[in-house]
């Protein structure tokens, strides 16, 4: 045993220890990253799940002929012009006979969401024999009551910090004790567009906006990107121009998305006068943005096709273009499709450029075409988050959950395709 062995042996323990620490350092990095992921998802899930249910109040509604159809005409016009707020008010007063001051009556009526007046009208229009009868109904509560019902601990804070005052608290507790309150599934959230009232606002409008936007993006970017990818990978001669093109595409992939929004604003809106806030402009901007992603994916999967296939086709007398369209492209198609789906899920989650071209507006109608003013899912989340009123934050979180669901579906599909058609040459 020589002298070096002695020296090394003496320091060995320390080195082994630092070896262990370093490994833990790496492991800590992974754990931290995964922890962040878990925290983000749980935090959003716990906030967002509240928005999928809403509070309803059970009331005995008397469809009073004196209010709905005082002159007994029986026409739709009369039904439409009737004031159903009074019907609801009477039902409430019936339940709380002690309320008699005007201001109290108003506060009490505010327990019920204003959308329920519309619902009563629709019930009458469907079946006018209801008039004169009494029916037990679960009416959607207003957002304030909803918030209190979801966070019952809020009842215990002092009156001035509370959303409802003492007399409202008394009414609320009575409803709660009599089991007149329940949670029902928030259907509105999935069927309507934005609204000023949280309990009436929904995601459907922005989802349709996103659908049209991404559809335009797909129609434009997919063919152009595949064509460009094929040219650059298979046909382009090696020269200054194609080098420049390549640098250009790589760089475009890293340009901040908001810059594309500025481009859209300056060119598509100000020069070309395309309609503001429309999915077609959003789609155009996002198409330019996703082009590099799909081009790069196309080139990668073309590159993965072994040259022997090309040589075989060319050996049979096929032209370069025939070789590519008949053999190489079909073989690389799964890869291109995967890249495209990933590009589309990027487009679906992109927000900043859409803000620039005005897809950030209060839009209560569900868009029906590429040209209608609309928002998009991520923009709707941003809008709801920025709304000060209570109840919108939950909507935003629920919107995030919907957006993430779509993204997970799209990405799983991409993974599925990749796994299914993965080829080892």
């Amino acid at each position: 045993m020589n002298k070096n062995t002695q020296i090394i042996k003496s320091s060995l323990l320390k080195r082994k220890r630092s070896e262990k620490y370093f490994k833990y350092f790496g492991l800590t990095g992974i754990i931290a990253a995964l922890l962040f992921l878990t925290i983000i998802i749980t935090s959003i899930f716990t906030t967002g799940k509240k928005a999928f249910k809403q509070t309803a109040i059970k009331l005995e509604i008397f469809f009073d002929p004196k209010i709905i159809d005082p002159e007994n005409k029986g026409t739709e016009e009369t039904y439409k012009s009737a004031n159903y707020k009074i019907v609801i008010k009477n039902a409430l007063l019936n339940y709380f006979p002690s309320v008699n001051k005007r201001i109290d009556i108003r506060d009490l009526t505010n327990f019920i969401s204003s959308s329920e007046e519309e619902r009563l009208l629709e019930m009458i229009l469907k079946d006018n024999t209801l008039i004169g009868t009494t029916k037990e109904l679960w009416l959607t509560a207003s957002s304030t009551i909803d918030v209190i019902h979801k966070n019952l601990e809020m009842l215990n804070i002092t009156e001035k910090d509370r959303l409802i005052d003492n007399k409202e608290k008394k009414w609320f507790t009575k409803l709660l004790d009599d089991e007149k309150l329940k949670f029902q599934f928030n259907k509105t959230f999935f069927t309507s567009a934005d609204s000023t009232e949280p309990e009436q606002a929904g995601i459907w409008g922005s989802a349709m906006g996103s659908f049209f936007t991404v559809l335009v993006t797909l129609i434009l970017s997919f063919p152009i990107a595949v064509a460009a990818g094929v040219f650059l990978e298979e046909l382009a001669p090696k020269n200054k121009f194609t080098d420049f093109l390549e640098v250009n595409i790589n760089n475009l992939a890293a340009v901040p998305s908001i810059i594309f929004g500025l481009l859209g604003l300056a060119i598509f809106l100000n020069v070309m006068h395309l309609p503001r806030s429309a999915p077609i402009v959003g789609g155009l901007v996002l198409a330019l943005m996703t082009l590099p992603t799909i081009i790069i994916a196309t080139r990668a999967s073309l590159k993965a096709v072994p040259p022997s296939i090309r040589e075989a086709a060319i050996g049979l007398g096929a032209t370069k273009l025939q070789t590519v369209t008949h053999h190489v492209l079909p073989l690389s198609f799964p890869g291109i499709l995967t890249g495209t789906i990933i590009g589309m899920s990027q487009a679906l989650g992109e927000t900043a450029p859409l803000l620039m071209i005005g897809m950030v507006a209060f839009i209560v109608d569900v868009p029906g075409s590429f040209l209608d003013a609309s928002t998009a899912l991520p923009v709707q989340i941003y809008l709801w988050k920025s709304t000060a009123a209570r109840g919108f934050v939950e909507l935003a979180a629920a919107g995030v959950l919907i957006l993430l669901t779509f993204l997970i579906l799209m990405n799983s599909f991409a993974v599925y395709i990749r796994k299914k058609y993965e080829k080892k040459w």
């Binding site: 990253a33 959003i44 901040p256 908001i258 500025l262 620039m356």
Partner: protein, 459 residues
């Protein structure tokens, strides 16, 4: 003529053109000993190309020019008095007319406006008809000429392939056009901004308060457009993000590339990539709703006050977003270090961590630096997280617990809402845009070059 009937019409012409080209070629082939130089289908395809390309070009022109033409016609049509009586100027008036539903106008709408809307509707139909018929006649003419060309001397396959390749080249050039479009649109609007505000004040001014510029009683005093607070804010947030992302990302990359077994790796890598796939608006939401209040309560606990919008909340969450960029790029780079170098080090008796620290990481350094630079460029250009969590007050501060604002936040703030393309306030967004573009461009070019050179070294 509607768009759908137009499409069907073109489709019918297309099928018959192809069929005619094909059969004519077949007939020529069968009627003589001499054969056509290309397969008959190429003659059909040739005619088809001469139909489809002009069509697409025409439709593109129509979409581009339609609004412009209609707006001009409408402006010329509208009586001057109406224009003067309408608050908000001629552009607002045009927009107003467009939103009128002529079948069921909102009660109380100015009848003159309804008339204008009806006029617009008629004109719009007229213009569309002109365009679509024009497109059809030109396409059919060209298609007809191309069918005439079928002869024994004409090599259709070469012609078809040539035009296909041209199409592919045109598609590739879209990337260049986009870049040129970005540069020109930004420069053009930024120049108009610099007509009003000197470039020196913009780049070196210490105070940013653009909202003063549109107040009517302050026409003379322009508001101040010193972008330094925005730059420092951007840098501060980027710095915080990097302080989170570099250690975590690098540690993850090292563990993945050097320690983990291939099964763990195949589970953890996709999980980390989820972080990259989460939309930025979700991070912004998380930063604003969870992280911001958390830091505020944290500070409350220690007895000092901070706003819930703070550089640290935005920067920290941005760091989380950046982690997968650094980890996956660095993982690739570390894995690319040749095994022979590791073997060399092990053979000397180095432990695993000594090998990583003293051989692998130094060898991978250029690649890692490239990855970090790309991540920095990403952080500088990131918008939604800062818009939702960093605030809009332009504070010149280095305190991470204060609200700061960034270049991207200001672009959004300036452009969301009413825009007037004459005011310095709106144009300032483009000046900020070109600054942002240049910063990220140089970072990207430099980083890509480093990474490229690194790859060449070990491949």
């Amino acid at each position: 003529m509607g768009f759908w009937s137009f499409s069907v019409f073109i489709l019918i012409i297309a099928i018959s053109a192809y069929w005619y080209g094909n059969t004519k070629a077949l007939r020529l082939n069968s009627n003589s000993i001499e054969k056509l130089p290309s397969l008959p289908k190429y003659y059909g395809n040739y005619a088809l190309i001469w139909l489809i390309f002009p069509c697409l070009l025409g439709v593109f022109l129509w979409i581009t020019l339609n609004t412009y033409i209609l707006d001009t016609i409408l402006i010329n049509h509208l009586p001057k008095e109406l224009e003067n009586s309408f608050a908000g100027g001629i552009n607002m008036l045009v927009d107003r007319v467009k939103t009128i539903n002529i079948d069921n106008p909102f009660p109380g709408t100015n009848p003159e406006l309804i008339d204008a809307a009806i006029f617009l509707e008629n004109k719009s139909n007229e213009v569309r008809a002109y365009f679509l018929w024009g497109i059809i006649s030109i396409s059919v003419l060209l298609c007809f000429v191309s069918l005439k060309k079928i002869s024994f001397k004409f090599k259709a396959r070469q012609a078809v392939e040539k035009s296909n390749v041209t199409l592919l080249i045109l598609c590739s050039i879209v990337a260049i056009i986009t870049t040129v479009g970005i540069v020109f649109s930004l420069i053009f609007e930024a120049m108009r901004f610099f007509d009003q505000v000197s470039i020196f004040d913009f780049l070196f001014g210490l105070s940013w308060s653009p909202q003063m510029a549109i107040r009517e009683d302050q026409v003379a005093s322009q508001g101040s457009f010193g972008a330094i607070p925005l730059f420092t804010g951007t840098l501060l947030i980027t710095l915080i993000a990097m302080l989170v992302a570099i250690p975590v990302g690098l540690a993850s990359a090292i563990y993945l590339a050097e320690y983990s077994s291939s099964t763990t790796r195949s589970i953890i890598k996709p999980l980390l990539e989820i972080l990259a796939g989460v939309p930025t608006v979700v991070y912004g939401f998380f930063a604003a709703i969870t992280v911001g209040p958390f830091f505020r309560e944290f500070a409350d606990f220690f007895g000092f006050n901070i706003a819930s919008e703070s550089a640290i909340a935005a920067g920290g969450v941005m760091g989380i977003m950046i982690i997968p960029f650094i980890s996956s790029l660095s993982d690739d780079v570390i894995s690319a270090v040749p095994q022979s170098l590791r073997d060399g080090s092990y053979a000397m008796g180095a432990t695993h961590s000594e090998t990583i620290k003293r051989v692998v990481l130094p060898a991978a350094l250029p690649g890692i630096v490239g990855a970090i630079l790309l991540a920095v460029s990403r952080a500088i250009g990131e918008t939604m997280i800062v818009v939702m969590a960093a605030g809009i007050a332009a504070n010149l501060t280095s305190n991470p617990f204060e609200a700061v604002t960034t270049v991207t936040v200001q672009i959004v703030t300036l452009l969301v809402g009413d825009q007037e393309f004459d005011s310095a306030k709106t144009l300032a967004a483009f000046a900020l845009g070109i600054t942002l573009f240049c910063m990220t461009l140089f970072l990207n070019l430099y980083a890509l070059k480093i990474v490229q050179r690194y790859r060449e070294r070990y491949e």
